[in-house]
Structure formats: structure tokens, C-alpha cells
């Protein structure tokens, strides 16, 4: 094999082709609109000219002489009869026309000021990094307003731009069309200095090149023609478009030569412009799309690049791959968690290249003899000279097998023990692709252990998964070292286990470990053997009549590490209100308590499983899991566990009781309605009468459902399968049981009862304004008995909402995930512990502020000092160390620890009863664990962060509004709020403030109310009962005393407000009303407008604060508001100026600075996630916040923020707005340095992150 040099792309420079260059690179001028002649030969000078490259394999290229495989294709060109505008640069053309003089082509800014700008640009002081970017926009803004040129003094005309391509100048003589040729002429006079100020690189992009005189014709390889089955040749869309251009160009040329009237020539020029425009972009607004003969819009250049299926995202960032397979998945609990069952049909198609050595030659020979169709076999042999032999075509495999020598390569079938990558979409986090060991099995589906479903989020209702076979040793090594299932037991999102027992395994664990479970020695031995136990059995613990029996706990204990100690409260104990800390494991023996979800469940931090993983390592944890899972499976299979119709049967008495209870609730509802009618219902603050009534009813009905559910639940005993599953956490909840056996309860849409649909009723089957909750969607029946027709319909309404919600949510969170990934993918951990982007910009000085990797941490902590002390104190025997000894020892070890950690270590040790040696040991262990938990350089911290925040997005509710605290304040929550935060919106949908009060105000409710009144924005409209006007001069405001009192205003306040508003009218207060007299008679409209203005005059309070509520928090009173305006609230007396909080991050950035914005962003993000019960480590939230705030202002996660300001052109183009990005890059002469992730994926190079940051060098020892 010839030694091939590997060429590495250093960079890509973007520029605009000049006409000279286009002609230079062209191999042929294209003049003929025909493509092929009658014989099917390509026409000379036609679009399929042989010089442009070759398509058919046999043909040779007329330019380079290569065959199709090696010829890259060559450009041609079309000489345009009349210049046309390039649509991608149309905005730049417009801006240049606006800002330059029409006569001298200089920027319309005085020379001195231009010099100043030059000075700033030249200075290149580090502190101008941001301001320098504003120069072009600043110049454009200034220059376009200039009416006369400061250089030549010529007056400028108004420019009208009719999209997409027409420019008109409005002169004294009338409107004058600016033709491309004129524009070109004008641009060619622009001087380089001016262009540089506008951000152009004049060497790569002269503005006159934006006007095309000559059009490059792409090589045929870019637009191959295809031959249909019918034998008819079908041309590419681009070829079609080019044919149009050539035709019109020809006609235009002929018309010009023939001296056709200018009007007709102009029409032709416009037509040429249209065709060239649509050739570049067929989705320009304002002009009709060009269509194919069949009516389908043509896919021209922009459409090829743009969007999900475009070149960037569809063919460059993501490609189809070989050595992969996809099929339906099904469960197999007999597999190990790290295995995947591969059907034989797949295993015989996927191959692994294996080099023949003296150690494997015999085995490989056998495989070759077996051939491609018999498993295990081989599909190909590659000889050292590079010749590949396909074994399908080999008649006598026996001979060829014997000819195999060392150094040959055999592509053998995938077989047991090979490592493969297994994946399920959507790949939301790193655990969506894991390394599994192959088990070739009969059947046609991929098999996986049910316990690895959570990380993939897979189920078996028809899900399909993908399998990839790594082909190189390096790839396999990486898969084994980093990707195997057992290495992914701990989720990097929160540092707890994501894989564990689930469903029947948990039920099985409960049934096995509950106190009365006994096993005969035979059963015990069988199960232990199945789980792979080796060693001596313990003595049976239970003495029975027929001989000794083992307890279930003994069996479980066999697999616990021998020195394992742990205490935990089981879910079962919590559910049955049993004792806390009931599960006791002492020296690897389960002493008491039952094992359930809390001990071995998936997604349960601080469980037994988690402890084993952290204290004994992944391998031990994997073995533990594998053993108990197979054992539990076998145990529950033998035990027998089912749940059916009969298990939900209730006694008639209970049933009647439930119905009676519901009826009582109904009666109470009727009572509420009656009270509301009389007006005696007690209103809670901030709610209108109707809202309050509805709240009471909803509350009562939910109580009714709970009662029904509870009495149903209670009537089942502890051996009821449903109860067992619900209380152990295996599946379902008591709510589910209640709905199956008790009553389904209220159905809701958008968080409300089903109130509307028809006039004053939900369905036509009810009377209007019927008070009966049945008519508003309360379902009295349960699933077991079945629903009535109407109930069923209501239930379907609620169910539909759920479906729509999920569909919308997946879309929204998917897009958020994409943006997060795009903004963060290039961040990695450097060797100095900083987090930086590939251009060296520091985002964090120390990752997570403590340098701890969450995935290697113990639920977010580097180590658990309490655990260390606990396990040490069991073996520790010396006398207790003194305070000084401990302090000294600790000081020695904690040097590298951060302040918080060293403090906790010291405090914990001081409280312990350890001896000096013990303390020393604990410290040593702690230091070791600390060092192990540190993040490794090169780690893709950005991607992990994006995944950790994006992935839980799919699990969040979409319910936009929720009442925070006591139903008085609407705030955005869940996914919409998360999106709002990463969007860095100027104003959140529901801005609110929490205003804490000063020392002497916060204790008293009265004082709090007083302050609140000062804050609440009060307009005149809120104080009046009515207005009167004579529609010409007078406006009379009738003030309402009650409202005035409520807002603590006086008539004088109103008069003052009116006076300060500087309106020209006289103010006459009289009693409860104020009369305003306008100085002159006006028409009705003016008076009404005036009245509205007057009504919206502020009397007092802070603008934007629409509502205030005071809330008691512990001892103190806090004011909560709807609407936010920190700056103004500051000026009010009585508030605690240090402690005003708002959920408007942007406002904080403006009033308190970028650091404060970062802090509040962290707070808001964590509380949003926490509120949804989703655990995400703070380090991730901090990284996102730091990134968003790293440039001194709030940057959005998205195209206008981080993704849009990336240095890499390709990365920006691959994200969104593809074509304009490339055009901008071209005119600025940007260079793609290929330092980031996306860029390198696009060019097909190694990504500089993780294992891609390092190279492996080997010292080759010379012979001899």
C-alpha cells in the first residue's frame, strides 16, 4: 500500500469572486441553452459541456483528463449582457447606497471624523473589543441621515428601495431608477479606507463585485442529470435555472444589438435579474417562485444549503454511516445490563476487521470457511496489497481460507463479546449512546435488559434502536473505557444512579426481603447459583418444622459487599407509615427492613445501589445489579405475581360509602353556590367573587376524589398486588389505585374545570347554568366499573389536552436543547482548570467554582465526610483525638480544598469520636476521593451542561401559568419560563418583584400595607366612578371615595398629578369631582383623546407595578408585585434596599450590573427546575449563567446571542441563517480557523475536545 500523506485543512477563507477571477477559473464560456443534441452528446458551449467535468464512469474529463471518480469538476461562466444585482448582497448594496455620496462615492461623514474612527480601529486597545464592533453600525446610522456630502458638497437624493431588487432615486426631476450598471460604476469609486470602516475587506470583497457582470456556472458534478427508468434524461434544478438565464441573456443581447426600444430592453433586463435572483435564492419575498414543469418550486442554491435537510445540517454536520443497524427492541431480563442481544441476521451483515496474526489465524480460517451466510463467519478478506475479496463470490472458501497469511485482514461477523454502540433517539444526553457487549441471539429484534430503559428512555411498544460497530482499535478502546453501561450508572446531571431495578424487579425485591419470606435450601442454592454466587453459604436463619429454612434477606445479603454498612428508610415504610430508617445493613447483612425502590431503584440518589457504586466502584455495582436482577426475576417468576380485575373489587359497603361521600361533597358545592348568590361567601384576597367560588368548588371536589381514592385504597390489604406495587415504588401510585377502584375525579382543561362549550354549559346534555358538578366534568365512576357516556367524553377532552401538551412540549424542548448544545458545545476544560472556548476566551476560572466533576461526585459532593467517618469509626479503637490534633491534621490535608469543603471536613471531624490515627486515615481517604472527583482536562463540560439542562426540559410541564404561593400572583413556570430565561428576554411574560421591608416596617402588617400602597401604580382611572364630558370643552371626573381610601389617595393628590402633567387645561375641584376645562373648543375626538390621556395619568406609585400583595414569610411581611421596576421602587421609603428581587434578569443587568444578573439568573434557573422536581446540579446552571454573562452584557442562548457571535463561520452557518452568514463572512474576508467542534465535524476532521485534545506519540526504537 502506498504511503498516503494525510492533509489537514488549516483554515478556510471566505471571499467574493471578482469578475476577473470568475473568468480566470472558468474553463468554458457557456452560450448555448441546449444541453444535449439529438444523439445524446453534450453540446459544446452548452450547460453539459464536457469541459465542466464528467459524470459517466467511463468518460474522461476534457479539462483534466480524469475519469468521473477523480475529476472534481470545473467551473464555466456566462457573460451577462447587462449587469444584475447579487441577491445575497442586496442589503449591503442598499446600505452602501445610503451611506455614500452619489457623486464622489465617499462615506457621508466629515474626513476628520473618519480619521477618528480609523484611529480607534488602529489602536487595537484590548478594552475596545466590544466598542470596535459598533463602529460600522454607528457610521451607517450617521451617514444615512446626511443630506449633503461633507466631502464634495453635493446634495443627496432620497433613496427608495423596492424589495427585492429595485432602487429608485427621488430627484427634483422626478423618480429615477438606479440601474445596476450605475450602482456598479458608483461603487467602483469607493476607496478602501471607507470600506474598511464599514467592516469590508477590500482585497476580498469590492462592493462592485456585488453586481454581477459574469455568472459562474457550477461544474456538472454539482448538478448531475439523472436518467429515469424510461430512458428520459432529467436535469437538475440548477441546470434548469441556468438554461433560463442563458435564454434570457441571449434574447437581451440580440435585442440590444437590434436596437429594440429601451423599454423592452429594460423588461428583459428585469427578467434576467429575476432569473439570476431565483437562481441564487428561490424563496425571496416579493417575487414569484420559479417552478419546475411539474409545478414543484425549484430547489436552487440557497435552498440547497439551508435548513434541516440542507447541505450544512443534512449532509455535513450529520451523515449517514456504514456499519450500523436499526431494528425493533424487545426486553430480555436474562441478559446482563451491559449486553445487547443482536439478531443473527444483523450479526452476519455487520463486520469487524481483524488483522490475521499467528494467534488468531486458526480461528479466522474457520470463519472464512463458514463464509458470509453461516454464522459465525466472515464477509470479506483484504489482502496486504489492498485487494478486497468478497466471500459471497468465492466458490471454494476452503482453499482461500488455507491461503490466508499473517497480515491479511478478515472482516468477520459480529460475535459475542464485541463492543458496539447502542443508541435511541432522541439522543438527549450522553447515556443515549452507550457501549454494550454483543450477544448474538435468534430472533429479529435487538434485546436489551429492561433496567437500561431509563437512560435511553425506551419502552417496548414498538421502539426502534440503532447499533453502531466501531471499526478501529482506538474506537473500540474508547468505547470500552468511556461508554460501557456500567460506566454510565451515575448520571452526570445530578451525580446519582440512573440505572437500577425497576417494575417487577422492585416488587420481587420486596417479596423476597419482607420479613416472612423463607426459602428452602434448594431454592436458596438455585437462586444463588443463578445469580453467579460463589463461596460458602451462611447457616439458615429460620428454624421450621421440616428443617431449617433460609430467609429472603439472607439471599439478598449474599450479594452485598461484606463490609457494607448502611441505613435508609424504605419506600414501603414511608408508604405504610412504618418506622424510619428501617432498612439496616450491617457488615453486608440485611438485618431489617425491606428492599424496594428506595434501596435499589433507578433514578434514586443515596440508595443502597448508589452507595455501592460510590464506595466500591462501577464494576462491583454492575456485578451487584446483574446478580440481584436475575435472582429477583427468577424469584418473582416462581413466586407468582399478578394484578387483575378481581384485585380491585370493593365491598358493596365501601362502594356505597364512596358514592355517599361524593354526594356530601356535591351538597357542600351547592351550599357554596348558594352562599355566593347571597354574597356571604368569604372572599379570599385578590380574587373576584366568581374566582373565589370556583376555587372553593375545585378544592371541595378534589377532596371528594381524594376521599374516594383513599377509602378504596384503604379497603385493600397489604398483600394486594396494587398496593404492593404502589408502596414499593414498582409501578403506579395510590392515586392510580384510587382512580381504578374509587372515582376518577375532576377532568380539567388548562387547569380549570370544563366550563364552556355551549352557552352556559359544557355539553348540550345539561341544563344551562347547572350547578351539578357532573355537568362540569366531575367523573364519579372509576375505571373498573367504567365511565358513563358523558363522563367518558369529558375524560377524552382531558386526555386530548394531555396529548397535545406532550406534542408541543417535545418540539419546544427539542429546539431549546439544540440551541443549548450549539451555544455550549465548544466549551471544554483546559489543563489549568479553566473553562474556555476554542479561541481561549475564559468562561469560568474554575469549573463549577470547585473543579469537581458531577459525574464523579457523590450527589454533587466530592466525598461524603460523614460516610468516611462512619465507616472509619467501626474499626477505629484509639482514644479520641484532641481538638488541636484534629485541627492540625486537617490543616495539613485540606490545602487544596475550597473554603466550604475544608470547613465541613473540620466540623465533621471535630464532632466525631475518632482517634488521631482515624482522623489521619479519614483525611487521607478524603483527599484521595477529592482528587479522583476532579474534572479531567479536555472534558466537554459545555456539552454535558447543555444536556443536563436540555434533557429535563422534555419532562417539564407546559402549563404556562401557575399560582405561586397563595393564588394571587400569576407567574410563568416550567418549560416556558426556562426558555424565557435562556432567551435572555428583555421582559419576562410575567414580571414580578419580591420586595422585602426595612427593619422597622417588616414586622407590622399596617406599615407593610402603607408601603405597598406607595408602590402600587395608581392611575386616575382607578380612582373614579365615572366621567362626563360635553365633547367640546369640559371633562368631569367623578371620584369614588371608596377607591380613594383603598389606594390611600386624596383629591389633592389627583389635582397635583393633573397639574404636573403639563396639560393645557384648567382644573376645578368641587366636592367629589374635578372639572377640567380646555382653553379652546375642540372636536369630539380630541376631547376623547384628552380624556383618555388624563385617565392614564399617574397619581402615585411605581409605573409597571400593576398589583401588589403582602405576604407573611415567617415573622416578616413581604410585598409581592406583578410588574417590575427596581429603579423606581428604590426611591420608596420603608423598603429594604438590599433585598428587592425581581424575575426580570435584564432589568437586573441594567440596574445592578452583570454580576448581579448572573446571580439572579442562577437563582431563577435553579428554582424553575427545582419547582418541577427536576434535579440539576448547580455547576451546570452556573456554567450557562457565566457563559451568558461573560461578555459584559446578557447574551441569549440562540442566534442573536452566543450562537450568532461565534467566531467560526461554519458553526454559525450550520446553526441558523445559513446563507446571509456566509455572505457576511465573504465581505469581511473572514477566515475559518477550524478550532471548534461543528467546524471540524463539517470538514471531517477530529474534534478538538475530550480524547480529541490529545495525540498519541510512540518512540520507535531503531533496529539493532
Amino acid at each position: 500500500m502506498a504511503l498516503e500523506t494525510i492533509k489537514v485543512i488549516d483554515g478556510i477563507k471566505f471571499s467574493v469572486w471578482s469578475p476577473t477571477e470568475i473568468r480566470k477559473y472558468s474553463v468554458a464560456e457557456i452560450t448555448a441553452p441546449e444541453t444535449y443534441d439529438e444523439d445524446g452528446m453534450s453540446v459544446q458551449g452548452g450547460l453539459m459541456d464536457g469541459r465542466l467535468g464528467t459524470l459517466e464512469p467511463g468518460q474522461k474529463c476534457l479539462t483534466c483528463g480524469n475519469t468521473a471518480a477523480r475529476c472534481p469538476g470545473h467551473f464555466g461562466h456566462i457573460e451577462l449582457a447587462e449587469p444584475v444585482l447579487h441577491i445575497a448582497f442586496i442589503d449591503n448594496i442598499y446600505k452602501l447606497l445610503l451611506t455614500t455620496c452619489r457623486s464622489c462615492a465617499r462615506l457621508k461623514i466629515p474626513q476628520e471624523e473618519l480619521e477618528e474612527y480609523h484611529q480607534i480601529m488602529k489602536k487595537e486597545a484590548a478594552y475596545t473589543v466590544i466598542s470596535i464592533k459598533h463602529i460600522p453600525t454607528e457610521i451607517i446610522e450617521r451617514a444615512k441621515k446626511e443630506k449633503t456630502c461633507p466631502h464634495c458638497g453635493k446634495s443627496q437624493y432620497e433613496l427608495i428601495f423596492t424589495k427585492p431588487t429595485i432602487f429608485i432615486e427621488r430627484t427634483e426631476l422626478g423618480e429615477n431608477r438606479l440601474l445596476p450598471i450605475t450602482i456598479r460604476e458608483r461603487f467602483s469609486h469607493m476607496i478602501d479606507e471607507d470600506l474598511k470602516l464599514l467592516g469590508y475587506d477590500p482585497t476580498t470583497a469590492r462592493p462592485e463585485w456585488f453586481i454581477l457582470q459574469v455568472l459562474p456556472v457550477p461544474p456538472v458534478t454539482v448538478r448531475p442529470s439523472i436518467i429515469l427508468e424510461t430512458g428520459i434524461r432529467s436535469e437538475d434544478d440548477l441546470t434548469h435555472k441556468l438554461v433560463d438565464i442563458i435564454r434570457v441573456n441571449q434574447r437581451l443581447k440580440e435585442s440590444k444589438e437590434a436596437g429594440t426600444p429601451p423599454l423592452i430592453v429594460q423588461d428583459l433586463v428585469d427578467l434576467l435579474q429575476y432569473h439570476v435572483t431565483t437562481y441564487f435564492d428561490n424563496e425571496v419575498s416579493g417575487i414569484p417562485q420559479a417552478h419546475h414543469r411539474s409545478g414543484r418550486p425549484l430547489k436552487t442554491l440557497t435552498q440547497r444549503l439551508k435548513g434541516k435537510e440542507g447541505r450544512f445540517r443534512g449532509s455535513l454536520s450529520g451523515k449517514r454511516v456504514d456499519f450500523s443497524s436499526r431494528t425493533v427492541i424487545s426486553p430480555d431480563p436474562n441478559l446482563q445490563i451491559s449486553e445487547v442481544g443482536v439478531p443473527e441476521a444483523v450479526a452476519t451483515k455487520l463486520t469487524i476487521p481483524e488483522v490475521v496474526t499467528e494467534w488468531n489465524i486458526e480461528r479466522l480460517k474457520k470463519l472464512v470457511i463458514n463464509g458470509p451466510s453461516k454464522f459465525p463467519g466472515a464477509n470479506y478478506i483484504v489482502r496486504p496489497d489492498g485487494v478486497k475479496i468478497r466471500l459471497d463470490f468465492v466458490e471454494d472458501r476452503e482453499t482461500i481460507a488455507n491461503n490466508i497469511e499473517i497480515g491479511y485482514l478478515v472482516e468477520r461477523h459480529l460475535s459475542d463479546g464485541d463492543i458496539v454502540m447502542f443508541n435511541r433517539q432522541p439522543s438527549l444526553h450522553q447515556m443515549s449512546i452507550m457501549g454494550h457487549y454483543v450477544r448474538v441471539l435468534p430472533g429479529k429484534t435487538f434485546r436489551l435488559h429492561p433496567s437500561v430503559c431509563p437512560p435511553y428512555n425506551a419502552d417496548f411498544d414498538g421502539d426502534e434502536m440503532n447499533l453502531h460497530v466501531p471499526q478501529s482499535e482506538e474506537a473500540r478502546a474508547e468505547a470500552i473505557l468511556l461508554m460501557r453501561v456500567q460506566d454510565q450508572l451515575i448520571s452526570p446531571r445530578y451525580g446519582g444512579p440512573i440505572i437500577g431495578a425497576l417494575r417487577d424487579f422492585i416488587t420481587g425485591a420486596y417479596l423476597l426481603t419482607k420479613d416472612d419470606t423463607t426459602l428452602t435450601p434448594q431454592e436458596f442454592a438455585n437462586l444463588a447459583m443463578l445469580a453467579g454466587f460463589s463461596g460458602t453459604f451462611p447457616e439458615p436463619a429460620v428454624k421450621a418444622k421440616g428443617g431449617s429454612l433460609y430467609s429472603g434477606k439472607q439471599l439478598f445479603s449474599l450479594f452485598l459487599p461484606k463490609d457494607f454498612n448502611y441505613v435508609i428508610t424504605s419506600k414501603w415504610s414511608k408508604g405504610t407509615k412504618g418506622p424510619v430508617k428501617d432498612v439496616v445493613i450491617k457488615n453486608g447483612q440485611l438485618v431489617s427492613g425491606v428492599i424496594d425502590k428506595a434501596s435499589i431503584g433507578a433514578e434514586e440518589p443515596d440508595s443502597v445501589l448508589h452507595r455501592i457504586t460510590k464506595d466500591y466502584g462501577y464494576e462491583e455495582a454492575k456485578n451487584f445489579l446483574n446478580s440481584i436482577l436475575i435472582m429477583l426475576k427468577q424469584f418473582i417468576t416462581g413466586y407468582g405475581f399478578s394484578y387483575g380485575y378481581a384485585d380491585l373489587e370493593l365491598a358493596t359497603k365501601t362502594k356505597d360509602g364512596i358514592l355517599e361521600n361524593i354526594q356530601e361533597s356535591y351538597d357542600r358545592v351547592y351550599d357554596f353556590i348558594a352562599q355566593a348568590k347571597k354574597g356571604t361567601l368569604q372572599l379570599s384576597r385578590g380574587l373576584s367573587a366568581e374566582e373565589a367560588l370556583e376555587a372553593y368548588i375545585v378544592n371541595e371536589l378534589s377532596k371528594a376524589r381524594d376521599k374516594a381514592g383513599n377509602s378504596a385504597d384503604k379497603s385493600f390489604d397489604e398483600t394486594n398486588a396494587g398496593r404492593i406495587m404502589a408502596t414499593t415504588g414498582a409501578r403506579g401510585s395510590s392515586l392510580n389505585i384510587g382512580q381504578m377502584a374509587g372515582a376518577l375525579g375532576q377532568q380539567s382543561i388548562r387547569g380549570r374545570r370544563i366550563l364552556k362549550g355551549y352557552s352556559n354549559r359544557a355539553l348540550p346534555h345539561f341544563k344551562e347554568n347547572d350547578a351539578n358538578p357532573d355537568g362540569k366534568g366531575f367523573v364519579k365512576s372509576n375505571y373498573r366499573e367504567g365511565l358513563s357516556t358523558l363522563e367518558f367524553f369529558f375524560h377524552a377532552m382531558g386526555g386530548r389536552e394531555g396529548l397535545v401538551d406532550t406534542a408541543v412540549r417535545t418540539q419546544q424542548s427539542g429546539y431549546m436543547q439544540r440551541r443549548l448544545i450549539n451555544a455550549l458545545e465548544h466549551l471544554k476544560l483546559e489543563y489549568d482548570g479553566t473553562v474556555r472556548d476554542p479561541h481561549g476566551h475564559i468562561i469560568q476560572f474554575l469549573y463549577g467554582e470547585d473543579g469537581i466533576d458531577v459525574a464523579k461526585s457523590d450527589h454533587g459532593e466530592a466525598f461524603r465526610i460523614a460516610r468516611l467517618i462512619e465507616s472509619e469509626s467501626i474499626i477505629d479503637s484509639g482514644k479520641k483525638a484532641t481538638k488541636e490534633e484534629i485541627t492540625d491534621l486537617v490543616k495539613k490535608y485540606v490545602k487544596t480544598f475550597n473554603p466550604r469543603l475544608s470547613k465541613t471536613v473540620l466540623e465533621a471531624l471535630l464532632e466525631s469520636k475518632l482517634s488521631k490515627e482515624g482522623v489521619d486515615k479519614v483525611c487521607k481517604k478524603a483527599l484521595e476521593l477529592y482528587d479522583n472527583a476532579k474534572v479531567e482536562p479536555g472534558q466537554a463540560v459545555g456539552v454535558v451542561t447543555a444536556q443536563s439542562i436540555g434533557e429535563p426540559g422534555t419532562q417539564m410541564t407546559l402549563r404556562t401559568f401557575h399560582f405561586a404561593g397563595i393564588r394571587e400572583r400569576n407567574v410563568t413556570l416550567g418549560l416556558p419560563r426556562l426558555i424565557e430565561l435562556v432567551d435572555a428576554r428583555k421582559k419576562p411574560v410575567t414580571p414580578t418583584m419580591d420586595i422585602y421591608l426595612e427593619e422597622n416596617h417588616k414586622k407590622s402588617k399596617e406599615k407593610a400595607i402603607k408601603v405597598a400602597r406607595e408602590i402600587l401604580h395608581t392611575k386616575i382611572s382607578a380612582l373614579i366612578s365615572s366621567t362626563e364630558t360635553d365633547y367640546s370643552t369640559k371633562i368631569k371626573l367623578n371620584l369614588n371615595q371608596d377607591k380613594l381610601r383603598e389606594r390611600a389617595c386624596t383629591i389633592e393628590d389627583v389635582v397635583d398629578a393633573l397639574q404636573s402633567s403639563k396639560k393645557k387645561f384648567e382644573i376645578e375641584p368641587s366636592g367629589n369631582s374635578i372639572t377640567l376645562t380646555l382653553p379652546e373648543e375642540s372636536d369630539t375626538q380630541t376631547v376623547l383623546a384628552m380624556r383618555n390621556k388624563v385617565l392614564s395619568t399617574t397619581v402615585k406609585g411605581v409605573t409597571d407595578v400593576e398589583r401588589v400583595t403582602i405576604v407573611q414569610q415567617g415573622e416578616e411581611w413581604v410585598i409581592q408585585t406583578s410588574g417590575s421596576n427596581i429603579a423606581k421602587v428604590w426611591e420608596i421609603d420603608g423598603i429594604d434596599k438590599k433585598n428587592i428581587r425581581t424575575n426580570n434578569i435584564f432589568e437586573i443587568a441594567g440596574t445592578l450590573g452583570i454580576e448581579a444578573a448572573r446571580n439572579s439568573l442562577i437563582n431563577e434557573l435553579s428554582s424553575t427546575l427545582e419547582d418541577q422536581g427536576l434535579e440539576v446540579d448547580v455547576r451546570y446552571i452556573m456554567l450557562v449563567s457565566d457563559l451568558m454573562c461573560s461578555r459584559g452584557y446578557l447574551q441569549q442562548i440562540g442566534r442573536h446571542g452566543i450562537a450568532g457571535t461565534k467566531t467560526s463561520v461554519l458553526a454559525r452557518a450550520a446553526f441558523e441563517i445559513t446563507v446571509p452568514t456566509i455572505a457576511e463572512a465573504a465581505l469581511a474576508g473572514e477566515v475559518e480557523e477550524l478550532k471548534g467542534v461543528t467546524e471540524n465535524v463539517i470538514v471531517g476532521a477530529n474534534i478538538p475536545i475530550g480524547t480529541g485534545t490529545v495525540d498519541l506519540y510512540m518512540r520507535v526504537v531503531q533496529d539493532g
Partner: protein, 83 residues
């Protein structure tokens, strides 16, 4: 009046960590420690409310002492730039 108020108020809010200007020598030390250039540092505008009272000018380095949920206390540096 406004500037007087802000000087007192702003650095005193619970969300605002301690900002201080560090002198040139220290700034150089920070840059050396992280092998970095000013332009690669996190930035802060001269006009940022949290440093308005400190008399900063573009080109200064600000040391920020943050309260940290993970480390107790942590340092962050920002380079002052023009808006």
C-alpha cells in the same frame, strides 16, 4: 442626585458580590496565571452599575469575590471595556 444614590445603593444589594479594582501588577499576575490576554477575559462594561462608584476606566481589571454554593467563596475576574 442619581449618582450619589447609586454610589451608596448598588454595591449593597444581596445579588451584587464584592467588586474591586486590582492594580496593574496584580492584573498582570492574573493574566500570567491563566496564560491569557485581556481580550480573552470575561468582560464588564465601564458603565456597569456595580462598578460605577469605583472610578474605573477601560483597561482596568476587576476582581469579584463571589459567594459560591459549591466552594463557599470563589474569585472571578473581569476586564473593563468600553461600551
Amino acid at each position: 442626585m442619581i449618582s450619589k444614590k447609586e454610589k451608596i445603593l448598588i454595591p449593597d444589594h444581596i445579588y451584587v458580590p464584592k467588586h474591586e479594582i486590582i492594580n496593574k501588577d496584580e492584573a498582570v499576575k492574573v493574566l500570567e496565571k491563566y496564560h491569557t490576554k485581556p481580550t480573552e477575559m470575561p468582560l464588564i462594561y465601564v458603565s456597569d452599575p456595580a462598578i460605577r462608584g469605583l472610578g474605573v476606566k477601560p483597561g482596568d481589571m476587576i476582581k469579584i469575590t463571589r459567594k459560591s454554593p459549591t466552594a463557599g467563596e470563589s474569585l472571578y475576574y473581569r476586564y473593563v471595556v468600553e461600551e
